[in-house]
Amino acid sequence: MSSSKTQTQIHRHSAGARKRWWVEVGWRYIIGLVMVLIVGVPVLYIIGVSLDPQGSTTGSSVFPSKITFDNYTTLLGGSKGPFLRWYLNTLIVCLVVTVLQIICSSLAAYAFSRLRFTGRRVGILALLLIMMFPNVLAIIALYSMFTQLGEAFPIFGLSTIAGYVLCLMGGALGQVWLVKGTLDSIPQSLDEAAIIDGASHFQVFSRILFPVLIPIIATTAMLAFVGIISEFIIGSMFLKSADSMTLAVGLYGLLQGDKTANYGVFAAGAVMVSVPVVILFLFLQRYIVGGAVAGAVKG
């Protein structure tokens, strides 16, 4: 009798502990799992579509009917548009714009953080305000500006990568804030020492400060790079010839051309674009999250 009573007590006790565990911790796992499903299912599904030769549009199943790489070979073969060219164009645009933006932003950040000049505070406020206007608000003017420019200099016209890059340079000072913030946190004594040693202002910038800035610049560059991959509005307006398109414009066109027939091929393209970016993100997660929290908003 007594022994059975103890058993029930133990049983009751562990049931209570389990209940408490569910109330305090267990539900957290459930919610986490639900979110993993919400994030994971669409991703897995699109990978499935990319492997399904029929593009998963005909059957009622969520699973691919057959697994092949047909969609990938079709896309890389170029019959649906010069995908590799789009990829290359996107890389060129993102690299050039990111590098130029970072250079312009770092130089300006140095002036704002270290140099004294009249209009410095007004300038910094004006810049803060102007950068809030995305240049897409003036798309009509940009369109006619570049139509004109292209007549005199065909390499900078519409449907050219160079013209598109130039247009995106309207955001040349987009990274000033992050860089200036970091510069402000570097003690002034560092450059003073260098100046006493006879360094010029450019040497202070390039040899002393720039190396210290490299981590934050790498973070900003990564965020800017990924943001530019998604630039669509100016691209869709400027890049009309197939050879000049970026991935955003090209894949959009592919999908608009025939939603059903091109689904699988589009999915293959989406996977090929996303995989490198996601891998890069996972490797640099710590820095990117830091940069994102410091104030950059990804497009």
């Binding site: 969520v62 002036a111 140099l115 809030m132």
Partner: protein, 539 residues
């Protein structure tokens, strides 16, 4: 105060500001090469821009070259040396377009009204060239001088069919037909077959360039009433315009006697056809004053649509920020607990939607909401036409925003939660606060202060988040009786449609809408400024 609130890092006037020292030799060489290149570009570009009469670009070019020399050649203007590159790009590709947009908003600039009145009349006449019984016929060859075979500019080489001396005539777009004065061409069977310095187009290339060749206006000396029209790849004729411009009465008159008077249609003047519309849909670039604005503000249907789009833009931005924040915050609270294992793995996985490039996610989701084969309908076994109904489409847009945006908020909130000191929570517990009320009374306000600037920035970003609409629904579904707005159009996508949409591009009117959007964005920026500043004062 905002910007100089950290006295320790504020540059002191004299001590630390470096001066320009004697330049090193490599530095000097770099400088010389750089300025040389700038000068070379300037020397190359200026005559070209003058030739094309692009005064704005000419001004930009000259100003840039002069400024570069003034700033980088002298040892003064040290801050200018650092500010110039970014500021120059910013000015040319952000500020100038904004100023131009404001300018356009006072004109009728659009597809049918790009050129001057004279050019428009000439174009109308060129297009109406007709062959008359006695009009001369020429053999034709088309050449390009160094230019692009596909784009021109083209030169037409003509020999009159009845001319025994085989005199070669040449004509370029916008110029009069004249005797060829260049190097002697080769003539075979009465047709020009080679011209030194020119590349002649093959019949196939001429076919490819057909539209361009048809649009060429090569006048026959003596006015724009008659001109050369390309008829086949080897033949051209002199046509006579069937439209005449009656200067005295400022009207167009056709051969059949139909009169097209110059009158106001809509906001601008044009030659009016009997059906009350502009002749061939054409007008010319003219100043319309504030008519675009008054149309926007007084036409009740347009104003209602603008306001409806504005309201949806606000709801869209607010919902995007608010819901992603709530979900992110909730997840951060849920998973940021030391008893939950594998914190890093959860975080890495939930970051996935943030890592995938935004345009890819949006395009993928546009497929998922497809009625016939979309994942959503398949998964839940339903048959909902998501993008066919205004409300459903709006819900879909917001759902996608949440899916794409919650990881960012999750990460931000996790970071902010971890930075709240443990003794704050401890103190709350000692004061008798329970779990839930600690969360809402103590943690949430602290967290809100640190993330509020990001929320405001995110709101401002979504306010003009063109991609989120265009890539997902294209602003659809179309609404009956609405002028350009679709059910999910935010202001920026509505303006884009107005300017570049299929039916009747009206840049002037779209610019007026853009200017209103500038103002709204400016107000938003000012509010953002204030909030951020107040919060900075708080912390």
């Amino acid at each position: 105060m905002l910007l100089t609130s950290q006295p320790s890092t504020d540059p002191s006037p004299n001590a630390s500001v470096p001066r320009e020292r004697n330049t090193t030799l490599p530095g000097l060489i770099t400088k010389i090469i750089f300025l040389g290149v700038v000068l070379a570009i300037g020397v190359y570009a200026v005559p070209l821009l003058i030739h094309y009469q692009m005064w704005m670009w000419l001004g930009i070019m000259v100003a840039a070259v002069v400024l570069i020399f003034v700033i980088y050649l002298t040892k003064r203007f040290i801050p200018g040396k650092y500010l110039f590159p970014g500021t120059a790009f910013l000015s040319v590709f952000l500020i100038v377009p904004v100023v131009l947009t404001v300018g356009y908003s006072f004109t009728n600039f659009g597809d049918g009204s790009r050129s001057s009145k004279e050019a428009m009349i000439a174009a109308v006449q060129t297009e109406s060239f007709k062959r008359t019984p006695d009009s001369p016929v020429y053999t034709l060859a088309v050449g390009v001088e160094g230019g692009d075979v596909a784009d021109g500019p083209y030169t037409l080489f003509l020999i009159a069919g009845d001319d025994p001396s085989q005199k070669v005539l040449a004509g370029r777009d916008g110029e009069d037909l004249a005797a060829w004065t260049g190097q002697a061409p080769t003539i075979t069977d009465g047709r020009v077959t080679a011209v030194p310095g020119y590349k002649l187009l093959t019949a196939r290339q001429i076919n490819d360039a057909w539209a361009n060749l048809q649009a060429m206006a090569v006048n026959v000396p003596g006015g724009s009433e008659s001109g050369i029209k390309v008829q086949t790849p080897t033949q051209a004729y002199e046509g006579k315009s069937s439209i005449r411009y009656d200067k005295a009465n400022d009207q167009l008159v056709s051969d059949s006697g139909q009169v097209y008077p110059n009158q106001v249609v809509g906001t601008a003047n044009c030659f009016v056809a009997p059906d009350g519309k502009c002749f061939q849909g054409k007008s010319w670039l003219q100043n319309v004053g504030t008519k675009n604005y008054s149309r926007l503000l007084t036409d009740s249907s347009i104003r209602a649509q603008f306001l409806a789009a504005f309201a949806w833009t606000l709801i869209f931005s607010l919902a995007s920020v608010g819901l992603t924040f709530l979900l992110g915050f909730f997840l951060a609270l849920t998973l940021n607990d030391e008893r939950v294992r594998g914190q890093k793995a959860w975080r890495a996985f939930l970051l996935l939607p943030y890592a995938i490039p935004g345009m890819i996610s949006l395009l993928i989701w546009s497929q998922f909401f497809n009625k016939d084969f979309g994942l959503i309908n398949q998964l839940f076994g339903i048959d909902v036409n998501w993008f066919g109904d205004q409300t459903l489409a709006k819900i879909a847009v917001i759902l996608v925003q949440i899916w794409m945006g919650f990881p960012y908020m999750f990460v931000v909130c996790t970071g902010a939660l971890q930075s709240i000191p443990g003794d704050v929570k401890e103190a709350a517990r000692i004061d008798g606060s329970t779990g839930l009320s600690t969360t809402f009374r103590i943690i949430m306000p602290l967290l809100l202060i640190s993330v509020a600037p990001l929320l405001v920035a995110s709101f401002a970003f979504n306010f003009n988040n063109f991609n989120a609409i265009q890539l997902l629904t294209q602003g659809g579904p179309a609404l009956s009786g609405q002028f350009t707005r679709g059910g999910t159009d935010i202001l920026i996508s509505m303006i884009y449609k107005q300017a570049f949409g299929g039916s009747g591009t009206d840049f002037g009117f779209a610019s007026a809408m853009s200017v209103l959007l500038f103002i709204l964005t400016g107000v938003l920026a000012a509010v953002q400024f204030r909030i951020t500043k107040r919060l900075e004062n708080l912390t």
